[in-house]
Structure formats: structure tokens, C-alpha cells
Amino acid sequence: MLDNENGEFFATENKGYALIGEAYLQGALDKTALKLGRFEIDTPHADTDDIRMVPNTFQGAVLSNEVLADTTISFLYLDEWAGVDTDVPERFKDINGDDGVFALGIEYGGIDNTQLQAWFYWGNDFAKLFYVESIYETKKVSVGLQFGSQSDDTQGDGGPDGDVYGVMASYTLDAATLTVAYNEVSGTVIDGFGGGPYFTSADDHTLGEVEDQRAVALGLEYVGIQTLTLGFLHADFDIGSNDTDYYATYEMGEDLVIEMIYTDLHEDGHFLRLMANYYF
């Protein structure tokens, strides 16, 4: 910690911190694997969202099975989490009180150029989150469809309750890729435990937790200058401020990646972020 006036990188009260984010036992029998402990996962509604100093990591269990051709079936139990999207980033804290969250996911890659996935998350007295996604992708074109349905499982009205659908498409010409995306929500949906899966999500803003939100996103990315990636993404939200991101990523060899992003939140302000990662 060097300058903590802005608290985005830090623990509560803008302090530095360290934690044991990953420590797990892992075993496999034939095509079934079990992981117990603290680990990183990336699923639609529970993910690392590694956009600051410390990603989200989770405590629990993951049982995955690949006995069916081109299919991965995953059972998750998530008990605690820590990291960037939590209220107390520096400590593992309960997910959904003592109850945790269960999830079942099926991912299928048996169709050429197509990835399909379906997930169901459930937490007692919390919510039910259902999500399906299909992405078709070739070297030049990608098309995606997504649908989510979320229902409040609390005794009151504290949880999400709504449906969301989304479409996206991209076209690549030489070194440039143009992307468009659209999401529409009826009711209210949440991102979950992480950054969320929605096609129109920008660097800072998503459509989560806003009733009857709609969003359109337009992005352009260029990779024609050695290992430099230049990009632009504008997400226009019906309710609340828009989010326009300008970013550059430069890979220096295999070990060092430098990323700079300027995020314009319009009436909500703006910020410039520089991240450098050296991998060993």
C-alpha cells in the first residue's frame, strides 16, 4: 500500500492486507474431480472478477464430472468468499449466512464452434438464479444469446426477482473487431458473487440491481500493433449513468502485461487505472 486516498485497491478503512486466498485439496478418480478448500472459480454468477489488486476467491467444494462426451457437469457448494467484490475484502466471510450457496452447471462443447452452458444457483432464504448461454464463434464472427431468470427466496422482498435476456454479435476484419450487445431486464436481477455474466457489462457498470434496466453496448478492439491491444467500449444504460471505457493492453514477452484503462462514468465521474502484472 503506497497511496490509499482512493480505497479501490484496499481493505476496509483503506488498509493493506494479505490473505490465504487459495488452499485446497484436490483429487480425481477417472473423469470425476473434487476440490475442497479455498479456490478460484469462474462461473456466470460466481467469479474472480480480477479487476483490482485481489480477485474474488471462494471457500467450499467443487465436484466436476466429464464422463459424458464434450460435457462438464459441476456441483458447487460455496460457503465463504473474499476479495474485490466483497464488503470486507480482507477476510473470508459467509455467503448467505450459514447456509452458503449451491450450484449445478452443465457445459457442452460438442457442437462445432459453439459453447453451451446452463447453471442453477440456489441459496436457502436467498434466491434462485437460473442462467443459460450459447456462444457461436469463428475467426471472423461470434454470436451469443443469454437468458437468466431469478426469483426471490427470502421471506420478504430482499432478493432479486426478474428475467434478463441478451444478444451479442461481433465481426472481425483483419486486426479490428466490432462488437454490439443488448440486454433487457424485466424486474430486477443481480450479478451474483462477482462481476456477472451480462453481455453489456462495462468496466464498472452492469445492469444488476436496477429494475427494468436495458442496455446497449458497442465495442471496437484493434490488435494490429505487435502485442498491443487497443479498445473502446461504450455501454448505454436506460437508467443511471453510461459507462465508456478506453483501454490498452501491452504484453512484454511472456511474463509482463501492462494494462491501462480510462473509465468515463459520465455524470458519475471517471477514473484512470494502470495495472502491471509480472508472472513467474
Partner: protein
């Protein structure tokens, strides 16, 4: 297995990073070192800055 490991010595001033080095061979260690800088202005026009060194050691 010998891996190249970043042993960092970093000094920051209000102007930015002044030094960042070095590597040596250590067995069985992997991860990353991350340097982050952020400069923000909120909806009221108030500015704030943050900078940090962190990483993952495994």
C-alpha cells in the same frame, strides 16, 4: 523445476514508480507481482488517488 522469480524492490514517489527489479531462480514457486495505480474523480468533482503493490505467491 527452476522458475524465474521476481524479487521486487519498488519505490514510489508522488510522480510514480522509481524502481522495480529483479529475478532469480527458485524452485516450485509461481504467481505474479502486481502494481496498481488509480486516479479517480467522483460525481462531486472530488479527486482521489491510490497505488499499491501486491500479488499472488503459490
Amino acid at each position: 523445476m527452476k522458475r524465474s522469480v521476481f524479487i521486487f524492490t519498488v519505490g514510489l514517489t508522488s510522480g510514480g514508480v522509481t524502481s522495480a527489479t529483479f529475478a532469480e531462480n527458485v524452485s516450485g514457486v509461481s504467481g505474479y507481482v502486481r502494481i496498481g495505480l488509480i486516479s479517480a474523480e467522483d460525481e462531486s468533482g472530488d479527486r482521489s488517488d491510490g497505488s499499491a503493490i501486491g500479488g499472488k505467491l503459490g
